[in-house]
């Protein structure tokens, strides 16, 4: 069965600093996609960044970047120059390429607080 583990229930960072959220996953598939979603207090689920497993290059979206280690099944999210608006729950998710499911399997989330 596919699983996603986020080992940090809560983290905090000072505004303008850098923080890394960890995520590991387990899948028997060779082709899959990985995502980070953000859920601010407003409850919306917002896509932050995604990574295709067959691409070795780490994905980057402005201040957000990932460190994808396929052999270790690790997919950490780095947030640079943290802003108060980054305060949210962050969910790591995995989605298989093959089969008929394609459903997102989520980790339990990391609550990030950015402090002024």
């Amino acid at each position: 069965a596919q699983t996603v583990t986020q080992s940090q229930p809560e983290m905090s960072v000072q505004e303008a600093e850098t923080v890394t959220l960890s995520c590991t996953y387990d899948t028997s598939e060779n082709n899959y996609y990985l995502f980070w979603y953000k859920q601010p207090p407003s409850r919306q689920m917002i896509l932050v960044i995604r990574q295709e497993a067959y691409k070795q290059q780490n994905a980057t979206e402005n201040r957000f970047s990932v460190n994808f280690q396929k052999a270790a099944k690790s997919f950490s999210l780095k947030i640079s120059d943290s802003q108060l608006g980054d305060t949210a729950m962050y969910f790591c998710a995995c989605r298989n390429y093959g089969g008929s499911q394609g459903n997102l399997i989520f980790g339990k989330g990391t609550k990030l607080s950015v402090k002024p």
Binding site: Y33, F35, Y37, Q39, S42, R43, Q44, M45, I46, L47, R50, E52, M89, F91, R95, N96, Y97, S100, Q101, G102, N103, L104, I105, F106, K108, G109
Partner: protein, 113 residues
């Protein structure tokens, strides 16, 4: 111009009632989903559906049923509501099942009295 919209945003009802949550997407996506987020913020897939195939998570009680009148809508019907059904329910959509990201609605907070 909301992409995925759910109604209502809040739903308070009594145990044993039957209720529905509506979901509509205007993105032209062919696949829609329902997720349940429990009190510990854990998100779990309930259903995924396109016009060809409904996939049900085996842990979902059969009191829950998705109904899709057309490609842009996937409503969630819940019969005989129980206390444990209290949660936030998210609708999502994507183009295709796999490599395209899912766009989520704002969620419906269901509270059972």
């Amino acid at each position: 111009d909301t992409a995925v919209s759910q109604t209502p945003k809040y739903l308070v009802t009594q145990m044993g009632n039957d209720k529905s949550i509506k979901c509509e997407q205007n993105l032209g996506h062919d696949t829609m989903y329902w997720y349940k987020q429990d009190s510990k913020k854990f998100l779990k897939i309930m259903f995924s559906y396109n016009n060809k195939e409904l996939i049900i998570n085996e842990t979902v009680p059969n009191r829950f049923s998705p109904k899709s009148p057309d490609k842009a809508h996937l409503n969630l019907h819940i019969n005989s509501l129980e206390l444990g059904d209290s949660a936030v329910y998210f609708c999502a959509s994507s183009q295709g099942r796999v490599n395209q990201p899912q766009h989520f609605g704002d969620g419906t907070r269901l509270s059972i009295l």
